[in-house]
């Protein structure tokens, strides 16, 4: 581009402005992201809700540290899951990605934009301080293996072809994802009014009860569609395993080591590393196929375990929470001993 920049970086005055800028840019057709940690995420909550409801693509990286409050700002945790899962007032459902290595951080870097633009929604990527601020061994970064997905965008010629008949929030394809236009589209019928207030298919303000419910149900349908666009879970199996582990993110090396140790100790377990919410169908199948699931994570309350229980209530009794947070990364020893203790309790 003859020496011109095709990007811009703005140091915002605060986290609220940071997400505001990113949402504004995402709305206007740019790939926009911001990065923060737990306290910043709290500040970004209101715009996250608006982006969800008015369907604006934006990427937010959360490099998790230890909360609540300022907590241990120089230490690591995986404790923002439920915050993001429920982020905003009202009914929301957010897309969450869990990179487990430096390479996955790189890959999810560009994939998150594809997903955000395809789904017209905020995408939250949950790294953590251990992954984000320490030195790691990694394989060389790989060039994207597919073209950019810019999602369903209509330009002037598209609207001309449609004789000006299009609706911003209409589910044309049955996947819950509507078409959008972006500022700069010069067709006289190209523009629309983006709002956080109740709106109909044509983005007009309305308080009609049926319309409100219809819009919210379509958003739920769109969230269902998202399952198929997100990174699949990674399975690491062991011969003869009847029970399994579910974990995510940077605990991966420790979980693998614990899994190998437990196999040697006569307790073969499969291990599924989930990489996204909403969960892929393979997660449900994995739960169905295992009589007992140890959910390993770095927080006090077993947040992933809670979310799994909400999603799969019929299997709630299978989930055993192995949760721990003291600011340090999980160790293979702690995971192994905790799983053995949980097993012991059961037998005892």
């Amino acid at each position: 581009m003859t020496g011109k920049n095709t990007y811009a970086v703005v140091q915002a005055e605060d986290e609220i402005a940071a997400i505001g800028m990113a949402v504004g840019a995402g709305w206007a057709g740019l790939r926009a992201m911001t990065a923060t940690s737990g306290p910043g995420l709290s500040l970004m909550t209101e715009y996250a809700g608006l982006a969800y409801y008015s369907e604006v693509p934006v990427v937010i990286w959360d490099i998790q540290r230890v909360g609540p409050s300022t907590g241990l700002p120089t230490r690591t945790a995986q404790a923002d899951l439920t915050e993001i899962y429920f982020l905003s007032h009202g009914d929301t459902q957010h897309i969450m990605l869990f990179p487990g290595s430096v390479n996955e951080c790189f890959d999810f870097g560009w994939k998150a934009f594809d997903i955000a633009e395809r789904m017209q929604a905020p995408v939250f990527v949950l790294s953590d301080l251990d992954l984000g601020m320490n030195l790691w061994m990694s394989n060389p970064f790989e060039y994207p293996d597919r073209p950019m997905d810019r999602g369903k965008v209509l330009w002037e010629e598209d609207i001309t072809r449609l004789n000006g008949e299009w609706s911003r929030y209409l589910d044309v394809d049955g996947d819950g994802i509507p078409f959008r236009t972006i500022p700069g589209n010069k067709h006289p019928r190209g523009g629309y009014f983006n709002r956080g207030t109740g709106h109909d298919e044509n983005a007009r303000y309305t308080e009609d009860p049926e319309v409100w419910e219809r819009m919210m149900n379509r958003l739920r349908k769109k969230y269902e569609t998202a399952r198929t666009f997100l990174p699949e879970p990674v399975l690491r199996s062991k011969d003869g395993a009847k029970a399994g582990i579910i974990a995510f993110g940077s605990s991966d090396p420790a979980v693998q080591e614990a899994q190998d140790d437990l196999e040697k100790a006569g307790m073969p377990l499969d291990y599924l590393r989930v990489r996204a919410i909403p969960f892929n169908q393979l997660v449900e199948k994995y739960i169905q196929d295992h009589s007992e699931i140890f959910v390993v994570e770095m927080n006090r309350d077993g947040q992933l375990c809670q979310i799994l229980t909400i999603n799969y209530p019929a299997y709630a009794e299978r989930f055993k929470s192995a949760a721990h947070a003291d600011g340090m990364p999980l160790t293979a020893r702690w995971i192994r001993e905790t799983i053995l203790a949980l097993k012991e309790n059961e037998n005892g």
């Binding site: 581009m1 609220i16 060389p140 060039y143 000006g164 500022p183 006289p188 009014f193």
Partner: protein, 350 residues
Amino acid sequence: MADQPSVVVSRQQINLIGLAKTDYKGAPTTLCAGCGHNSISNQIIAACYELNIAPECLVKFSGIGCSSKSPTYFLGRSFSFNGLHGRMPSIALGGLFADLSLKGIGVSGDGDTASIGLGQFKHLVRRNVPMVYIVENNGVYGLTKGQFSATAERGLSLKKQGTNPYTPVDIAMEAMISNATFVARSFAGDPKQVKELIKAALSHNGIAVLDIISPCVTFNNQDQAIHSYNWGRDHEAPLHELSFVPARDEIMVEDFQEGDLKEVTLHDGSVVILKKLETDYDPTDRWQAMRMLEEAHSNNWLTTGLIYVDVTPPSFFDLYNLPDQPLNRMKEDQIRPKRKTIDEINTWFY
């Protein structure tokens, strides 16, 4: 969209780009009859029509409040983003990056700008983001039954609220202190001045703050209230008589025969002509502007006009070395780095 008017009725007057004034209309207003905000909406319509700005070439932004509802009521064909309370500036900043040929116009209120949004407002101003920023200033929260806002004058008494004990925030002064490059104050009851100022603001390559006293007829329109129609009509003291001459028009000096004239040439070649009234006022003098605002504040004067303008600083987007082609129209080969870039990055590590 299907429900919006786009057909030009024959024999209707049209502007140089073939649009009728109806092409600039929005949805019918739901604000109170007589609300100053409706008058401002009408002047935005008139200014854009007369300046031949296609609605598609302008993007509207707003926050929360009566004022922030008003973008629905003008330029229905334009893109618009109604954001959060006090957080419109960040949306506008991000959004306007996408296509630098678009004009931005933000509509806010005294609650949205002077209370919750004071921080984002001042940061937008200090960055000199090129857009028009209108504050429809009425001193009260009209949408929630008329509580005092941060711009209400000390001592203002309202039936349901009692007496306001706090000193007000002066939006024009806040803009000045943050190094705004275009600051004006006006009065919704003076539509001609409002329109000329909007036109000038649309031609400015930087932030243009318009603090417009816009009376709330329901909650704050008693004769002695500074934000009322009667006070404004009786007390408005314009700094000058202001006329905007677009770049393409030749300035006819004979139109401005009487009195001393000052000219300010804006970024796009258009000119603001300021005719001297009672006293000399130089809107390029920062200290005079601040002194005037301070005097107006301590004497409860409604001094209106172009308070300050500086056309020389670069706009926010001038700092980013961006291409002419809009960023949001770039194709993959223009924005995704080449494979060799990743190979280079990998060589730093391995």
